[in-house]
């Protein structure tokens, strides 16, 4: 289907045969390069912000889900295993799915991050998502003061 060739980490050229029903393709594609989906013409699309490794994952997802409308997807177990990866990779997948407008992958990865957020204490959330605490001590005390109804008896 597609053959990613990795030039370096920042630029990527891919020969992509149009996959029906998945994404709109990259936003970078100019008009005269628009692939004719039915003829299966080969087109070069530049994807500057996606590494080869992430792109391979995206392609793996697309290949599994290409016939979702006709015969259903690969199932929740496969999806769950697919996003069972490091934090950094999930974030890269989100950005890639957003950039390539692949709704299914975007929803799946967002769902995974939401699930990771659940049930965590404040420190755990900050640590997991590398969130910088930009409150001053007074501001933080004020914000905490607003929320005892959610946490205490």
């Amino acid at each position: 289907m597609g053959f990613p060739r990795e030039a370096d980490d920042h630029a990527e050229k891919l020969r992509w045969r149009g996959v029906p029903g998945v994404g709109d393709g990259s936003k970078d594609v100019s008009n005269d390069q628009q692939p004719n989906r039915n003829s299966g013409a080969e087109v070069s699309i530049s994807l500057p912000s996606i590494t080869g490794k992430i792109l391979a994952k995206v392609i793996e997802y697309c290949e599994k889900h290409v016939f979702d409308f006709k015969q259903g997807g690969p199932g929740e177990d496969w999806d769950r295993e697919f996003v069972n990866v490091d934090q950094a990779i999930i974030f890269d997948l989100i950005r890639a799915a957003d950039y390539l407008a692949i709704q299914g992958l975007l929803d799946l990865t967002c769902k995974k991050v939401a699930a990771q957020m659940a049930n965590k204490s404040l420190e755990e959330i900050r640590k997991l998502f590398n969130i910088e605490n930009d409150y001053t001590p007074e501001e933080e005390a004020a914000v905490r003061q607003e929320h005892p109804w959610a946490f205490f008896d």
Partner: protein
């Protein structure tokens, strides 16, 4: 965190609320994490989803959704559940008290009846001795003992046979009554045990049903076990 734009964090929070993975506690936690997340977590759409799920709207059209509306409904609901629980504890405790009184009554009745039984048994023994004496007197005792037996028979002023019959019947009735009391006592004791258990468990776990158990009263690990059960899709 800075890698992803606001719209994506918004989508993450929205999907979390829609799929019931994030609840009011998570959103509040998130809002204390940073300014940016605070702003994102105040989005009325998120709280509309939570309000629709946790406090389904009643007939009059509901006010516009917001975090403070959720907070108000939450606190009202919590107060209502607390009063309900208090009422149940009081009911259980009064049941327990009534059962205890019944047990005390039964105990004293058993004691009384046992005393009656003892008295009746004594009188039966006496009368039977007297009867055998009177038989002996009439049949085969030699003259030397005859005098003594005659004395015993003369001392007894009641009609021996009929009194003996009615005493024996009374004895049976007493025994039966005691048996009935014992049975009732055991049943009541069992009930007492059950009521005690009910009061104990009510007092220990004020809110059966995991949604609104106060965080402070459970250990963190037990909370995680309960809430991870909600996660299994």
């Amino acid at each position: 965190m800075a890698i992803l734009p606001d719209e994506i964090w918004q989508r993450i929070l929205e999907i979390g609320a829609e799929t019931s993975r994030l609840d009011y506690r998570d959103l509040c936690c998130v809002s204390i994490a940073s300014h940016r997340l605070n702003r994102l977590s105040l989005d009325p759409t998120l709280w509309a989803i939570l309000l629709a799920r946790d406090f389904p709207p009643s007939d009059p059209p509901p006010p516009p959704p917001s975090k403070s509306l959720y907070k108000t409904k939450f606190e009202r609901d919590k107060a209502r559940k607390l009063t309900q629980w208090k009422r149940r504890v009081l009911n259980a405790e009064s049941q327990l008290a009534m059962c205890k009184n019944k047990l005390i009554d039964l105990e004293s009745m058993i004691v009384q009846e046992s005393q009656k039984l003892k008295a009746v048994a004594e009188e039966i023994t006496n009368l039977e001795t007297t009867r055998s004496a009177s038989v002996a007197l009439n049949v085969w005792q030699p003259e030397i003992v005859r005098g003594r037996q005659k004395q015993m028979v003369e001392q007894c002023t009641v009609s021996i046979e009929s009194r003996l019959a009615s005493l024996k019947m009374e004895f049976q009735v007493c025994k039966q009554q005691i048996a009935t009391y014992h049975k009732a006592y055991n049943k009541e004791k069992q009930r007492f045990g059950e009521y005690e258990e009910a009061v104990r468990s009510l007092k220990y776990q004020p809110f059966p049903g995991d949604q609104s158990v106060p965080v402070k009263m459970r250990s963190k690990s037990r909370m995680k076990i309960n809430r991870s059960k909600r996660h299994e899709n």
